[in-house]
């Protein structure tokens, strides 16, 4: 049962006939894991907290740096030097005390990711390196867990939702990570500050739709957003029978870290 405060707080959800009290209860009962508390993770964490997703996990080993603040809106100048997960949790709890925030002040790896995602209904990739992106994909495919992929670079971003057993996974499109430093990521590539906000909010939208069980998820479609052309395109992506993890003859049957895909700037953080 909702309290009076909850009825008021969530009134704009509750008056949507497609959501209603039942839908809001689904959100309050929902559990979403956000991996990465940076550019993508910030708007995801804030909007999911505002929407009343009852349990939100957030994982990141980084500390807030001044150069993050151009885009990582969960963090403020006073937070520099603080763990990002604690900085983000403080904003989420201040926004909505209904939300339980679980923090994981760690880098994900093949040894811990299964435990980190286990209790959640939906996982969101807000990471900044290929090793983590492939690991999240593999862990979600093997655990049969739906997740949202997000990636950004310069002025372009893309996102895809994976539904186990139904839609293409990240490796269906990109079977193996690019070699170390072949493709600029994190600190090597610049990014327009608003770009992770756009992609992160699309990912948060997918999480809400998944919990509510409504609408058409971005499954089997890769959405590519180009901020300069101001275009959104969706490209159909089918399940790939040659996919190394979800194809007909998978070669990946247990989790491993893609060490070759670690960038120098990731190694610096370890």
């Amino acid at each position: 049962m909702f309290t009076e405060e909850q009825i008021e707080r969530y009134s704009r959800h509750i008056i949507l006939k497609e959501v209603g009290g039942k839908g809001q209860q689904k959100l309050l009962d929902g559990k979403v894991m956000i991996i990465g508390a940076g550019g993508l993770g910030s708007p995801i964490a804030l909007y999911l907290a505002a929407a009343g997703v009852g349990t939100i996990g957030i994982a990141d080993a980084d500390l807030v740096e001044l150069s993050n603040l151009q885009r990582q809106i969960a963090h403020q100048t006073k937070d520099i030097g603080e763990p990002k997960v604690l900085s983000a949790r403080a904003k989420m709890e201040a926004m909505n005390p209904d939300v339980r925030v679980n923090t994981y002040h760690a880098w994900i790896n093949a040894g811990n990711i299964r435990d980190i995602i286990d209790e959640y209904d939906f996982v969101i990739d807000g990471t900044d390196n290929f090793a983590a992106k492939f690991l999240i994909n593999d862990a979600c495919v093997l655990a049969g867990k739906p997740y949202s992929h997000g990636g950004i670079r310069h002025f372009v971003g893309q996102t895809l939702t994976f539904i186990p057993g139904q839609s293409a996974c990240y490796r269906c499109i990109f079977p193996t990570p690019p070699p170390k430093d072949a493709i600029p990521t994190c600190s090597q590539a610049g990014v327009l500050g608003v770009l992770p906000g756009v992609i992160g909010m699309l990912q948060a939208t997918e999480a809400l739709k998944y919990l509510l069980g409504m609408g058409e998820l971005l499954a089997g479609r890769l959405l590519v957003y180009d901020a300069l052309a101001m275009t959104f395109r969706t490209v159909q992506v089918r399940r790939n029978p040659h996919c190394p993890i979800c194809g007909e003859n998978p070669t990946i049957t247990k989790l491993k870290d893609e060490l070759e895909a670690l960038n120098v700037c990731d190694l610096d953080k370890k």
Binding site: G36, G38, T127, D128, G151, I152, V156, V237
Partner: protein, 70 residues
């Protein structure tokens, strides 16, 4: 030859000789060794880039790695 590349019409020379490798070069695709190519909705195996000839009306999508997020 008239193709559709990333949703836009593209007229490219090379009837009966244009393969994926040549198309990547012709269009000056950035980091061609890491781009994923979809032809008419199917992801192509990299080893088939050379022997896949394009024909009029084919729809090609180039999909790029994006590793950022923070």
């Amino acid at each position: 030859m008239n193709l559709k590349v990333n949703g836009k019409p593209a007229a490219i020379d090379g009837k009966d000789t244009l393969n994926i490798t040549k198309l990547l070069a012709e269009l000056k695709v950035e980091t061609p060794e890491y781009v994923t190519v979809e032809l008419n909705g199917e992801v192509l195996e990299r080893e088939n880039f050379e022997n896949t000839l394009l024909k009029d009306g084919d729809e090609v999508e180039f999909l790029y790695f994006m590793g950022g997020g923070s």
